[in-house]
Symmetry: C2
Subunit: 600 residues, 2 copies
């Protein structure tokens, strides 16, 4: 017998389930701790997608409990539209099964692998079937399933299915049990925090052993569900066209108009003309060569870009800024939503933000927050095109130091939204280096870099000006006193000099003989409406004028006065006290104010 016959005996078909069981790291199950996060991520993705489709405000409950030695039980429950009983076994018990793979719109899940991978992992490590409860509406019965996957065939194995009394009107609950060491609590809470930043309409509750955390919704508006669009004529490959043509009963011009986005009758005619084909020809009857000519013609004719507003769901500059402000309280935040673009026929959109200072750590590399279709990416930062772009920007020209990545108290957020995010693997941890996406990220980052540079140089200038002002304000009165003593003339008011130096609102606070004085001089040339904030251990009971508002926390009194100050006018308040503490004025740009605390 020849060797080839020998070898032929070893040839075998490999089931998808078998393949991913052996290569479970491709699905994000390379370590037990990571498995927990991957599972929760997949379940939450599904819950958010489903709630978006049902246009309900998501209420998601997550529970993680140790049930035995190294065995953890994970429960994720949502208030989505539920899954009809006939579909449950396939959705959870078959890899490569789902509703979103074939639709051209932005969704979190897109592969039909995610949650079934977790079922696979549970069955591999503990052998415990996954329990699913789902109910599709108040008039429907809930069903309870116990599901596994038949590895050799990648088909669902229904161990149990029965009606179930459930106190929810609609929703889905999945309970998965697998081996883990669960030391990833910090990472999990981080994942949930970032998820809630980009899904402000979601409420997520977590019970982690004996601790409970809630990520409350900050918006009561459901986000609109992206609707599917048709394939764009410029983003189609020959093999796809051939397949579509083979199953069509239409005439060529109808086929073009009805199958592709942005193709009207006139465009279809132009395409047919360029290809030398009749619009009335049956698509099915076209030869391979005719289809090739048609494809070339389709790509040669000018067609508007695909309509992206309906199929993509960007977060928006305002929301990104607010989300970051809430979490990091930085000195500076700027955000950009780029115009939509297309790669290989898939519409996509890049959003980015940059933040500086505030609570960010001063030392070390920049913090990079990566998102794809409103899902935070938690692993494989080094493999992601976002990280590569951050490293490829020359940040030195924007006044940041850089060693590979930029350094210092900087945060960079990038969100890639697409009808098909090109992840580097099924675990969806990192985005592949597609040139079109790379370009958009670079443009967004460079744009933000320029804004940051303006902020940094203004801040530096402000700092110099403020230092100088502080020095001047401290010395001028003493200088004036000395001068008046020498020349034996009465002491002059030096405030106008200080103001003229600055053209600003100048707030000063000083304390002499237990009397605290706050003086606000307006040198801006315009009337200004401001609030004066004074925080110290003094309660300012005898203040004149009276503060609008006083509050006390731990012996520190916050006193707020509102004042409208005409140009070249001084507003004054004084009270008995020890002074010190903190002074600020609000209601005016930072660059136009100067606060000098002479007690300090």
């Amino acid at each position: 017998m020849v060797l080839a016959d020998e070898l032929a005996k070893q040839q075998r078909s490999i089931s998808v389930a078998e393949f991913f069981e052996k290569n479970k790291h491709l699905l994000g199950f390379d370590s037990p701790t990571r498995g927990v996060i991957t599972t929760i991520k997949e379940a939450v993705d599904n819950a958010l997608d489903a709630c978006e489709e049902a246009q309900v405000l998501p209420d998601i409950f997550i529970s993680i409990k140790k049930t035995g030695n190294d065995i953890f039980r994970i429960i994720v429950e949502d208030n989505g539209p539920g899954i009809v009983p006939a579909q449950v076994p396939f959705v959870f018990g078959k890899l490569l099964y789902g509703s979103r793979f074939h639709q051209i719109r932005q969704t979190r899940g897109q592969q039909g692998i995610g949650i079934s991978a977790a079922v696979l992992y549970a069955q591999l490590t503990t052998g415990v079937p996954t329990i699913i409860i789902s109910r599709t509406g108040p008039k429907e019965t809930a069903h309870r399933f116990e599901i596994q996957i038949k590895i050799e065939t990648n088909e669902p194995d229904i161990i149990l299915q029965q009606p179930f009394e459930w106190d929810r009107i609609h929703g889905t609950r999945v309970q998965i049990e697998f081996k883990s060491t669960m030391s990833a609590k910090k990472k999990l809470l981080e994942y949930l925090k970032y998820t809630s930043v980009v899904n402000p309409h979601a409420r997520i509750r977590v019970e982690l052993d004996d601790e409970a955390f809630t990520f409350e919704r900050v918006s009561q508006d459901v986000i609109s569900c992206p609707t599917a669009i048709q394939q764009h004529p410029h983003g189609i490959e020959f093999g796809q066209l051939k397949r579509m043509a083979a199953t069509s009963e239409q005439k060529l011009s109808d086929f073009l108009v009805e199958t592709f986005s942005r193709v009207g009758k006139k465009t279809a005619q132009e395409m047919c003309g360029k290809a030398g084909l009749k619009g009335t020809a049956k698509v099915k009857g076209l030869s391979s060569d005719e289809l090739k000519t048609l494809l070339a013609a389709m790509q040669a004719v000018v067609v508007p870009a695909p309509p992206t507003t309906q199929c993509l769901s960007p977060i928006g500059e305002e929301l990104i800024r607010r989300g970051l402000d809430k979490e990091f309280q930085m000195d500076f935040v700027a955000a950009r939503t780029r115009p939509s673009s297309v790669y290989s026929g898939h519409p996509f959109m890049v959003e980015a933000a940059i933040g500086y200072g505030g609570r960010l750590p001063f030392e070390g590399n920049v913090i990079i927050l990566r998102f794809a279709n409103r899902v935070p990416l938690m692993y494989q930062q080094g493999a992601c095109v976002i990280t590569q772009c951050v490293a490829n920007v020359n940040w030195k020209i924007y006044n940041l130091s850089q060693q590979g990545l930029p350094m210092g108290p900087v945060l960079i957020l990038v969100h890639v939204a697409s009808t098909n995010v090109p992840f580097t693997s099924e675990s969806k941890d990192a985005i592949a280096g597609i040139p079109e996406i790379e370009k958009e990220i670079m443009l967004a980052l460079q744009d933000l870099g320029r804004e940051l540079k303006i902020f940094l140089s203004r801040r530096d200038k402000n700092k110099v000006a403020e230092d100088r002002a502080r020095a001047v304000c401290a010395i001028i009165p003493e200088l004036a006193a000395k001068v008046s003593e020498i020349v034996e003339k009465p002491l002059i008011d030096t405030s106008p000099i200080e103001g003229k130096l600055m053209h600003k609102i100048i707030a000063k606070k000083w304390t002499r003989d237990e009397k605290v004085t706050i003086e606000v001089s307006n040198y801006t040339g315009h009337e200004e409406e401001i609030s004066v904030y004074d925080i110290s251990s003094d309660n300012a009971a005898n203040a004149a004028p009276k503060p609008e508002f006083v509050s006390e926390v731990d012996g520190q009194f916050t006193k707020v006065w509102k004042a409208t100050i005409p140009p070249q006018t001084v507003w004054l308040v004084s009270y008995t006290g020890k002074g010190g503490g903190m002074l600020d004025i609000r209601g005016i740009e930072d660059t136009k104010k100067m606060v000098v605390d002479l007690d300090v």
Copy 2:
């Protein structure tokens, strides 16, 4: 109708072919140029694997030709054992089909995806079927196939199959046509160069448009084909054990002995005892709980590590050193083959090498060469655990500068050999960060770092010693002359002083009044046999003694004398000439010689 019913209609099974058509970047087809390299890589992997199985010296022919606008035809032909006609359609026309997925041994291909992915890509971009010719032996008929993949079902579509007159006795030829811009020539040649470094028994010829390149074999020994081993009892998960048990008709103790590697009768008994199960019990009849207890017992009992010598095929330190020397001619090379280890039951082995100086570029980051199962990894360096380990080693303590990666004229090679290399995606570009593998790579690199440090500090010491010697040798004679003048005594011979400073062979060359003198003094304490090389514009026709050998190139004469010099003895030669040029002595370690050209 409830929403869930609406949504259910969109639920669909996704075929593997459909999945990878949409996510072709996962298979290494994210850009047309990369597609060419991926295709050739997959075909060459298969060819080398098949030749190894057949134990023939691989003769691989590759041709890349432009056939039309942006269309390239790629041919890869091997002299392997061929594929029987019944298997050809499946091997090329079905994703997830192959002979190597289910075997526990080191192979290049391991997923059953590679070459069929190229067929898929061809059909998508050009629609041209892939042509395969294969013959399994001199008495067998060759067959010619035209194959595509049915996308919806992932089954082969045989467009043509017929007997074929082929002038090869055995082998396989695959011809694939797809869209590309083919600007990746440099990357392709690099890939082939590195492939031939780690496969010195292979001969690879390439025709690239009108250019031909040959990577000749440097070894006539076929490398032994790794043989498959059985699963190790410590590397098995519950789900696998349950499946194995369900299909076994054996008694428990026989099952353990015959199914697992390193389990003998005694070990099997111990496992049964620990689990409280009878060795005579039918495996099939064990309950889920009994199997859980059994698994715990299997993992608690001490079992030797899996036998790796048969299933793994490391390159070997000697061969790595020789391969690198040939390509880079460095000043220093060291290599390490680590002992084999295991992750999740998969045996693996790490080899590494480090090189310094020579033809390596002096500036910029280190060059990293990554290999997995004797295949060079060409893309996604940043995503690979090898790169991460190189960055994680603290190279500063080994006297290299470092900014993330180490810098300077350094080359680092790492080869991971395993029965299942954990790639980060199906395109097999980068290895995932499995902790066990990470640890082995770190240990190998740190070990090599220490060797490099010794080399570098010795070289630095040598350089200092040589500089000092040059200074001393230049000054001492003049000093001596001055002294003899002052004290009015005859000039003494200063050479012994110089030698005593060094304990070395010292070669000196000087020219006075058109007389060139070369003096070699042996201060080593032993008799030394050396060759003196003197290259200059002098032909040394009247040299005494006569050189062994004189050759002339472009007016430069290379003169070689052989000399055996007893300890504390001086060897002399002189001739008429202008001097200058270059002097060297060979046949003695660099650290024991010192060459001082006083003419310079």
